[in-house]
């Protein structure tokens, strides 16, 4: 099953989206294969 998460790369934009949506931000520091 495919990973259907669409990852953002800009934290500031994600924080702005979180403010508008009421969601939290999940910040993943990763070394997984790209």
């Amino acid at each position: 099953m495919a990973d259907s998460i669409t990852w953002n790369t800009d934290l500031d934009k994600a924080l702005a989206e979180a403010k508008g949506s009421g969601k939290l931000v999940l910040l993943d520091f990763s070394a997984a294969p790209m």
């Binding site: 990973d3 994600a14 070394a31």
Partner: protein
């Protein structure tokens, strides 16, 4: 991150996901320094003001990881002062992932959240009693044990 529908749904429903890859050296160094991330995987739950509310460091099996995501949501509500919502979220961790470390921690914090919402110390006593029935060997049972003494 896990290629499972359950984790993807949880992430998409409750979070705005941001990934910083170690190969993105500038961004990784900048955000790594800001949030004290020195290892991968490190996954943080951050509120909309940029404040860290929960941290996962190192690999976790899928169920443990999912339970930690829910635990992070509960912590965020508690630390924002929404204690009733936090209690509900902690109980959801126990309901969905009863065999995880996050469940034992959630049992502790659910009691704290109920106490903070009601100022009724019986919430803490009942939580200590609950640890006699479940998660007796967890560190959270030790932390809750002090509340038994309130009744003496």
């Amino acid at each position: 991150m896990y290629p499972s529908a359950a984790v993807s749904t949880l992430v998409n429903d409750s979070f705005v996901p941001v990934r910083v890859h170690v190969k993105q050296q500038e961004a990784f160094a900048k955000l790594g320094e800001k949030y004290g991330a020195q290892w991968t995987p490190t996954t943080l739950v951050i509120d909309a003001t940029g404040v860290e509310r929960h941290r996962m460091e190192g690999f976790l099996p899928e169920g443990d990881f999912a339970s930690q995501l829910l635990l992070g949501r509960a912590h965020a509500a508690r630390l924002a002062g929404d204690f009733a919502e936090a209690e509900d979220r902690y109980k959801l961790v126990i309901e969905r992932y009863p065999l995880t470390d996050a469940a034992a921690e959630s049992q502790y914090w659910a009691g704290v959240a109920r106490y903070k919402a009601t100022s009724d110390h019986h919430a803490l006593i009942e939580t200590a009693r609950a640890f006699e029935q479940r998660y007796q060997d967890s560190p959270w049972a030790k932390k809750a044990s002090v509340w038994q003494q309130k009744e003496a």
